[in-house]
Symmetry: C2
Subunit: 507 residues, 2 copies
């Protein structure tokens, strides 16, 4: 089926069910950044493969919102389909909620799969729609219904992340969380965010490509620490978890569990990281409170054992990068090396490390002009062969038991133009400017971002992505709350936080 | 009566009425930054004269929260009273809401004058208190009851601000606001913020010291533009306002007006700039919506006529500063000049300008060590005499019909130490670093603040205040939404916005 045929099929179903507009998001029920292919509804319906998109489909229109990293890619991938790209956060474009409200008739019906939208986003959408008395149906998974060759969810086993890596036992972590709950008078705290769960329980899995997380929910009360997970996934850990007083529950059991807690409980979770379907099933007898994910800041501030491990893993990983660059420079032009080969070579070199698990994200190996696409990835259908001239951008990293790495290198393979030299130098100046920053405790990354942007802006240039992000510990390569970007988000830097430093010029 | 006697009196009343804790804020019903003395409950009850404070009084404790600008001053002014100072936004101190919740017994009673707290603050407080089922009484003005020599509210007349200064007529401004209301499906928009009202209607007054605003509220609907103001204040403007279809209503008539609009209206106002008492009187038949003050951004983006006027007024004001510095350097050491004289001299010099109205804020003339207190102001009881040595800090400005100025100068009066030279140079470097900034449209001030802080932070120094603020046009010397400070607030810079540039070293 072509993309347009799929859209036609969806429109047929919408017509049957009296739905005026249907929304598709990029999220799984855990608001995972790079969700498993099982939840890649956006790719199925539009063909777009970027990590951020929201789709709106009506009788007459098919729109896809994405951000600056993907404008080039979306333009290319949506060509020849019904879809029109919309720029997210651009002053000239309308956000999808406003657009959805405007395009849907008074008293109309909109629908989406409520498991794939956060409580926060859903509330914003419902607020907009209420202005025209548009109703939102959240239990209709139209795409799930028409997706025939849909990828299965993973059945991979969960394993214990050893204390020699984690540095703090799960009882201690749970007890810190309970301290916050007590202070905030919260009876039950629901965690949907997969890396928070993996961190809290010192468990790792392999359900999400290049991540070490596993599909699950957690509820913490003063009496119980409940892990909601498919029983066959967790079979290797049952004994150890029982020893730490963790109780095991079925994956889809969160609403029932919460509703059985008794009446008038204060239930808290992070509205931005929990799906709306679960929220909508919580009995109205409870009070629901939005809080910042308690575990996120705990997880972000690495302990001494983690920091020691991170230093070690980065020294080893750097050696692998040197080995890779040596191989590349010695062989480029002598044998055929394509962008696709780079990724494999890196896995081969890193894979010899006894603690190596997988890449930490899909390698970006982008030769010459391809590097202008942020988060470009070569495919079997479209890739370049590397020649002994110009630049090769390699952004890659590894998941190791003792840490997660994320390294970007722009490698000079031969003659480069004076413009390329200028751009390379500017990027280096940005990187050094940030690396040398002296700053007050408690500052947020948006301030430091200025230091990285300054050399660029002074030359009337900019890059349309963040400068740095938190990095997990044998966990997600993107981790909050800290961040270095132009986005104005309060996430004070605290001791133990780790961030990347990756300005760039994209042209 | 001493401060402690006043507190004892208040505690007596609290006991009679069964109130466990009483809160006093620095705000008038319009959330004015530097509110009229009539509303200076904080000064009456504590003796503290800074522009930011929150007071909490219980049977056993008297606490005053303020920010870094006022730590030195509060420490001095609260000495010998029951009051203990609490640092606002300090990692080690508890915020007043949490403290209030913790100190009040389960099912206890807290009270405050609801007209002196914003809807936003009140909601946060109520949320905290609800965790212990503490009730909040908002219609009890205990301090108003015991304040015998309370300053009267002003009766000053309102006057028309000529179009040759304002550059845009009130009909046009109102029509722009109505455009937003239509877009957002808002039936009635309430403005409490005095400078927004003055800007919207091209009116000026003199109710707040050094401001050009007047006590009033506004409600805008598609059909009406209603100004709620004491009739004797507005008598000079009745005809012109009638000509622009502005209807006049009594100052305290907002709730009745809103409740008479019919049922099921969407009423919007800025929760942070509207008082909770009015909010609490709005009929539950209406839907209330929190929005960012619509007029603030319109007001912040100066039009061409305003910008032309602002350039002119700053050239004239700079000439007055030169005249002042010449006078000072010629006379220091020859005649007695005190900090108090500086303020008078500046009024004398600026006062000769045909468009001059008043200072735009209380002049800060701080000699040597006094300059270490941010927002220091000399008093009849305590001031320094200026000698021909060291530094004099002068931070002053004027309200003119064609603009508002804000100028800080550190004047060298004789020999200065090498440390003073270093600090002066650092401040200059900060100022120049910010002044030379090249930045993208839409950036928020927190990013640019980094450029001003960098020279300081690189020397392990900091200043505990913002770097820059918006400046009104013949209006408040502090004006939002734009701002340059470490505070992480999204307020994108737009064309026509004007900001100050005032880093400093305080020691």
């Amino acid at each position: 089926m072509t993309v347009n045929e799929r859209v036609d099929l969806l429109r047929g179903l919408m017509g049957e069910k009296g739905i005026d507009a249907y929304i598709v998001t990029k999220f799984d029920p855990h608001m995972t950044e790079d969700s498993p292919e099982h939840y890649n509804y956006v790719k199925f319906i539009s063909g777009f493969t970027g990590s951020n998109a929201t789709v709106l489909i009506t009788k007459d229109e098919a729109l896809l919102w994405t951000d600056g990293r993907y404008f080039v890619q979306a333009h290319r991938q949506l060509k020849g389909t019904y879809f029109k790209m919309q720029k997210e956060n651009s002053p000239k474009s309308v956000d999808y909620k406003t657009y959805a409200r405007d395009i849907t008739p008074q008293n109309g019906v909109m629908a989406l799969n409520g498991a794939t939208i956060s409580v926060f986003e859903a509330m914003g959408l419902i607020d907009k729609l209420s202005q025209k008395d548009i109703s939102l149906q959240i239990d209709i998974d139209l795409i799930g219904g028409i997706w025939e060759d849909r990828p299965e969810l993973s059945n991979n086993k969960v394993f214990i992340h050893d204390i020699k890596y984690a540095g703090e036992c799960r009882q201690e972590k749970i007890s810190r969380v309970r301290g916050v709950l007590k202070e905030e008078s919260i009876d039950a705290y629901v965690i949907s965010s997969l890396d928070d769960i993996a961190w809290l329980f010192n468990l790792r899995g392999n359900d999400v490509p290049n991540n070490t997380t596993f599909a699950s929910y957690v509820v913490i009360t003063q009496e119980d620490a409940a892990l909601f997970v498919h029983s066959d996934k967790i079979s290797d850990c049952v004994e150890e978890l029982a020893g730490s007083h963790v109780t095991l529950k079925p994956y889809d059991g969160v609403p029932d569990y919460l509703n059985s807690l008794g009446k008038d409980k204060i239930i808290a979770f992070d509205n931005r990281r929990s799906n709306y379907l679960i929220y909508s099933k919580i009995s109205s007898g409870h009070k629901v409170r939005d809080i910042k994910e308690i575990t996120s800041e705990m997880k972000a501030c690495k302990n001494k054992v983690e920091i020691e491990n991170i230093k070690n893993v980065n020294i080893r990983d750097s050696a692998y990068m040197v080995r890779f660059i040596k191989w590349l420079k010695e062989n480029v032009g002598k044998q055929e090396i394509t962008e696709l080969d780079i990724s494999e070579k890196l896995i081969e070199i890193r894979g010899k490390d006894k603690n190596y698990l997988s890449p930490s994200f899909k390698t970006i190996a982008a030769y010459m002009g391809n590097a202008a696409m942020m988060h470009y990835s070569a495919t079997e259908e479209s890739y370049s062969t590397i020649k002994p001239e110009g630049f090769l951008l390699v952004d890659s990293g590894g998941q190791y038991l003792d840490g997660t790495t994320d390294v970007t290198r722009t490698i000079v393979l031969g003659s480069v133009s004076s413009e390329m030299k200028r751009d390379y130098t500017l990027t280096l100046k940005s990187n050094i400017s940030l690396a040398r920053a002296v700053f007050l405790k408690g500052v947020s990354g948006v301030m430091l971002d200025m230091l990285a942007r300054q050399p660029m802006w002074n030359n009337l240039m900019d890059y349309k992505c963040g400068t740095g992000h938190g990095i997990g510990f044998c966990l997600n390569v993107h981790e909050g709350p800290q961040n270095i970007s132009t986005r104005v988000i309060a996430a004070p830097f605290k001791e133990g936080m780790i961030l990347s430093n990756e300005p760039g010029v994209y042209r």
